[in-house]
């Protein structure tokens, strides 16, 4: 029975994670400018792959592997905002302006 529970949860996590990733990809394609796309990539991507990793850890039914999967997830949480920040900052500093639909840019006033 436990097998079924694990399998079901894993399957759910798998599909959910994959869909998150897909939605992030769609966002990447659909959103109008670089900065809005960043929201999509840094969040949905992290969560999507985090769910999938978690699924993998869970499915192994091994605490060590689960711990490792979680450690990996935490690592992404540490790095994802930093890389987003670096890219956004660099882009903004190099003159990549916000898209036309943007309503405000306090940084440009500096």
């Amino acid at each position: 029975m436990m097998d079924y529970v694990v399998a079901a949860v894993t399957a759910l996590l798998l599909i959910a994670g994959a869909l998150f990733a897909l939605s992030a990809a769609i966002g990447l394609v659909r959103l109008p400018d670089l900065y809005t796309r960043m929201h999509s990539a840094s969040k949905a991507g992290t969560v999507g792959s985090g769910l999938l990793l978690f699924a993998a850890g869970l499915y192994s039914e091994d605490s060590v592997i689960l711990a490792r999967a979680l450690a990996g997830f935490i690592f992404f949480l540490l790095t994802a905002p930093v890389s987003a920040h670096l890219l956004a900052r660099a882009a903004h500093r190099s003159g990549y302006d916000l898209g036309d639909i943007s309503v405000r840019d306090d940084m440009a006033k500096r």
């Binding site: 399998a7 990809a25 796309r37 993998a56 790095t79 660099a90």
Partner: protein, 117 residues
């Protein structure tokens, strides 16, 4: 009879297809751009999706060792993005693109002007 294995197989195959689709979309953004940061962002995302892809493979094949690869991939993707951001920054502003000739002149000046390196 639906076994747990069958559930997992079906779900993982489905996930792989979805992720494959996501990968292709992301690749499209890499190619399409339009700006350099867009491409970098898409590449960063590509590693993110690849991590998920690998996790699914780990489940599908039952080899949890793939998880470690996924972890290192996260690390690597981060490094790439940092380096690219660094690159974008050091290229200077795109609003006043220096001409190729100016760059050459600059390179020459640096060559001659440098005393000790």
């Amino acid at each position: 009879m639906i076994t747990p294995a069958a559930i997992i197989t079906a779900a993982s195959s489905g996930a792989l297809v979805i992720l494959g689709l996501a990968l292709l979309l992301t690749v499209w953004r890499v190619i399409a751009g339009p700006t350099l940061p867009d491409r970098i962002l898409a590449l960063d995302m590509l590693t993110g999706i690849a991590i998920g892809f690998i996790a699914v493979i780990a489940i599908k094949t039952g080899f949890s060792l793939y998880i470690d690869i996924a972890i290192s991939l996260g690390l690597v993707g981060f490094l790439a993005t940092v380096a690219f951001a660094r690159f974008v920054l050091s290229r200077g502003s795109i609003k006043s693109p220096p001409s190729a000739a100016a760059a050459k002149g600059k390179a020459k000046k640096r060559r001659t002007g440098r005393k000790r390196q």
